[in-house]
Symmetry: C2
Subunit: 585 residues, 2 copies
């Protein structure tokens, strides 16, 4: 037996007990005739004591141990004179009388402390060392608890976790599939699922009633900022439900997770906001509602004063930044440069300061009188000391720029507290999005999303006008989940495919299995999927999903520890009856 | 709202209540002026009543409904005159006053009853209909419960479920990897894991202490009898443990599963048997210990009586089949033909019947006297009425034939009751297996398995003699899990690779990440993996794993419902920079 206790459980109640511990040498220090070692395992740290006076041999051996050696010790639990009340084992130490080296260690390439001196690449190459750091390990523990709570909660509501296959067929549109050549069927390929969408719908047709799965999904696309080629979803589907049944059920799940894992209680029901309202008030479909600073439409108010920028604009909107009237020229210039970045693309930024005495000073005083500006302040509810920012241009683009500016101001003003969580349902999305380039509609969610009943009249005549029974859950400006009520009627599904520009042949080839299934009594159904990596990162207070994944890949889709992807042998290629070719330059 | 209750929950306590139900038309019958419909959902059946006298319109509509139509009804819960006490809803029926057709259905291609008239291929093509059958659905419900109990049990013991990547690197030996071309890294491939073996070992090096995962694994090999290209493991690993810690922990898991899911209580600890003992007593390394009929080594006893078959044989063994003395010539001929099948390959079968009067009649009376045969009976503890079967030949092959015969006799005599479960640990496996053809050793479990300390002296001198710290869990003759204590020292690991005939270059290329990891303080560790599909099939009383998998593939590795694998577009091939080639005939 390697241990009687872990390094995280001993305290004064065990004083005088003989114990055996195993773990890693975390830190070690020699003080006069004594050597102290902090022994570490997943559960904590325990101080070991070696005394040159009483056991010189053993103490010398202890002094030879390097960082990260794995050792086993036996000794007596003793009260510490110099207590450390920050850790649960801080009142005791072990007076060691036996020491065994289980495994030695060369010096780690970076320090295994809360703040490591290792860069990202080095940490990923030695991920097994990086994971020894408490901050990283705690993320995986959190993720485990979240998965357990999710499963137990959904199971208690009669959801069944059902494993869907990983080797499936290539799917319709959107990002690219990973494919897998079949040795038994040369020239043929499986695909890895981007989501189990059609399979979970088939499970509803199969009468499984309530399905969930915490499941890996795959996307072979360029990895922007914070994406992974393989990612994990909490994937759910329910039969005999309408939208509100789904929203209620999964508001329940999310509330339960926050309560049970983070101790956060939502005081009220999760609010709902239509897509249109979100766009008007926040300039985006995933508003961060931890703070106000909502967008006001100033178009009517500001036109007709000979200011050509406004007079010629499709839309003029503004936000009010509380307490920012004292911003310097340097600060406003910075913000102007911020909104003019190519990713945002605003032409410029106009401001109006409400001074302490109530007077208003703007960057467009030439065109607007104090009287005019008072009306701005009134519309935006700006008080003395506030700053109004105004932008003008094409509506969609200007709303987007106002959204970016609002979030930036939220950051600057410390209004986006990571310990406050404000979930929101965004509902009533458009069903289709028109793509100018390819001159066709794309499904805003996916092609199985049901149109809203009240908009069905436009489904054949003016599809762009149709709203969908779709919904996203947004927390703190991050889309953590989304879903829809699905089409469960093959005629409606056929029309949907037609609206997406798919011919009958293509539909038959790609979707005959689900069109067939709808002919045998499909129940009304709908579902949702949550990005589990994203949700875990949010719970951990992290911006990146990478540190809630045990072995993540880098931006080039590579695992630098495993050194994959890599070449395979000619023998393997021959077996699969494929060959690799160099792209023509 | 589509329903106030499910079809499985109403009873007399709800008598008089107005309810709304939704579900499938399971059966329907017209009796005089009444129509009765059994409405079905996942939770049960509820009888609906329509009356021609009170509502002719509605009753006519009900009569037009076909099998598998999806309907919604509203009505009053009423006491049934003709109660069906076999189902929980059998005391009530619903007098319907509103009926809505949610979805119609064409006639299913096979009957959705306990015994279906659909063949395997048809059932798989319409798996979403097959899953509506209660017998199939119950398997998935069972599987869900088993997964939940596994997770909660292991989590309560401080195991963390940690997701390991699906896109990994190609692994060492054994069955073939599926590979995945990377679009971002042309000419390079990921592989799908045959198991997360090395990754879970890295998690131990990372100090995660106790890991588990219910995880998909992949193997691109010819699908014998009951294999799937993707299958699910309960994969586990622990640090600072020796073999007995692992056996105790996972005996606990298996006992918990049997108790909580099937209500089966093992009266005693799970017994242990060495590989050598299993081979001697049962002729195989996964003995079915639900019944005795153990093999007796008769080699010494029967030689020297001028029977050349025995005198020239390496090994002679026998079993005693209780109560089979009355077997006819036809029956013994059948058994002889059975052991002579090419898969078993015995030369012949010798028998000796112990008659009611104690006299013994054998097929080799020419060579053996009554006195001789009495000694046989004594050795095999054969009583009056029993039959002794004897085979001779090379030891390994003969033991195997005796094992097959024993299992066959167990089946014939009804000794292999599916409702009795007898788990067993088989331990002390050989570390290596010699392959005559390639003149090299192969790892019996895998190359990371630790040799037994007491056999280390042979590790370099006579590797074939070394036993491993490996163990299998066998239940009713089926290997449901297996694992080992791992090597955690890079020098020992190097020797192991050398014994497997791998050069330094190859080791470096394939395993540098784990050899590296061992240099930074690797704890002693070990683990186990259970075949979850197999375990679920055993719990469900099924011989095939297929019916505990929602969407299984057939023996050609095809999913006939999704019609995969299949060709992919030239565009996709170009993106991946690969092409398919026809094998030279």
């Amino acid at each position: 037996m390697y241990r009687t206790h872990t390094c995280g459980e001993l305290n004064l109640a065990k004083k005088g007990t003989k114990v055996t511990l195993s773990g890693w040498v975390h830190r070690s220090r020699d003080l006069g005739g004594m050597t102290f070692i902090d022994l570490r395992d997943r559960y904590g740290l325990t101080q070991l004591v070696f005394n040159m006076d009483t056991n010189a041999e053993l103490c010398k051996q202890a002094r030879s141990l390097g960082r990260e050696f794995v050792i086993q010790v036996t000794g007596i639990v003793t009260e510490r004179s110099n207590k450390n009340l920050k850790i649960s084992t801080g009142e005791i130490e072990i007076i060691v009388d036996e020491l065994t080296i289980l495994s030695s260690s060369v010096t780690p390439p970076f320090t295994l402390e809360e703040k490591s001196d290792g860069g990202d690449d080095l940490r990923m190459k030695y991920r097994y060392l990086d994971l020894r750091r408490e901050v990283v390990r705690k993320n995986l523990e959190l993720r485990h608890r979240m998965a357990m709570e999710t499963r137990n909660y959904l199971s208690s509501l009669n959801f069944l976790e059902i494993e869907t296959p990983v080797l499936v067929n290539s799917t319709p549109e959107g990002a690219r599939d990973f494919v897998v050549p079949s040795r038994m069927n040369p020239g043929e390929f499986y695909a890895l699922p981007q989501s189990p969408q059609t399979l979970k719908q088939l499970l509803m047709v199969a009468g499984m009633d309530r399905y969930f799965q915490i499941v890996k999904c795959f996307r072979d696309e360029d990895l922007r900022a914070d994406r992974q080629p393989e990612f994990t979803q909490i994937d759910c589907e329910m039969a005999f439900v309408d939208r509100d049944d789904i929203l209620d059920t999964f508001a329940g799940l999310i509330s339960h997770l926050f309560k049970s894992v983070k101790g956060v209680d939502f005081e009220q029901n999760i609010p709902r906001m239509t897509f249109n309202e979100a766009m008007e008030r926040y300039g985006c479909d995933k508003p961060d509602i931890r703070f106000g600073m909502e967008i006001s439409d100033m178009t009517e108010l500001v036109k007709g004063k000979s200011f050509v920028v406004f007079d010629s604009a499709d839309y003029i909107g503004g936000i009010c930044a509380s307490g920012c009237a004292e911003y310097t020229r340097k600060q406003t210039d910075e913000l102007t440069a911020f909104v003019q970045k190519p990713q945002i693309g605003a032409k410029g930024l106009i401001y109006a300061k409400v001074n302490a005495d109530g007077s208003i000073k703007s960057s467009v005083d030439k065109f607007y009188s104090e009287e005019d500006l008072k009306k701005w302040a009134e519309l935006l509810q700006a008080k003395a000391g506030d700053m109004i920012f105004v932008m003008a241009g094409p509506k969609k683009q200007t709303l987007n720029a106002l959204n970016e500016l609002r979030l930036e101001m939220g950051n600057r003003l410390g209004l986006r507290d990571k310990n406050i969580f404000r979930p929101l349902w965004v509902i009533d999305f458009p069903l289709l999005e028109w793509d100018e380039e390819s001159k066709r509609f794309y499904a805003m969610h996916h092609p199985f999303t049901s149109p809203m009943d009240e908009d069905m009249e436009y489904f054949t005549t003016d599809p762009g006008k149709v709203r969908a029974k779709a919904y996203d859950m947004v927390i703190n400006g991050v889309e953590v989940g989304g879903g829809s009520i699905r089409i469960h009627n093959s005629d409606v599904q056929k029309l949907m495919f037609k609206n997406l520009g798919m011919g009958e042949e293509e539909v038959k080839r790609k979707f005959s299995f689900i069109m067939d299934a709808f002919r045998y009594g499909a129940p009304p159904h709908g579902g949702i999927a949550f990005g589990f990596d994203r949700l875990a990162a949010m719970f951990a207070g992290l911006d990146s999903i990478r540190d809630v994944i045990a072995f993540p890949k880098n931006n080039a889709g590579k695992d630098v520890m495993l050194d994959t992807p890599g070449p395979i042998s000619q023998e393997q290629l021959d077996e699969l009856q494929i060959k690799t070719i160099k792209k023509q330059a």
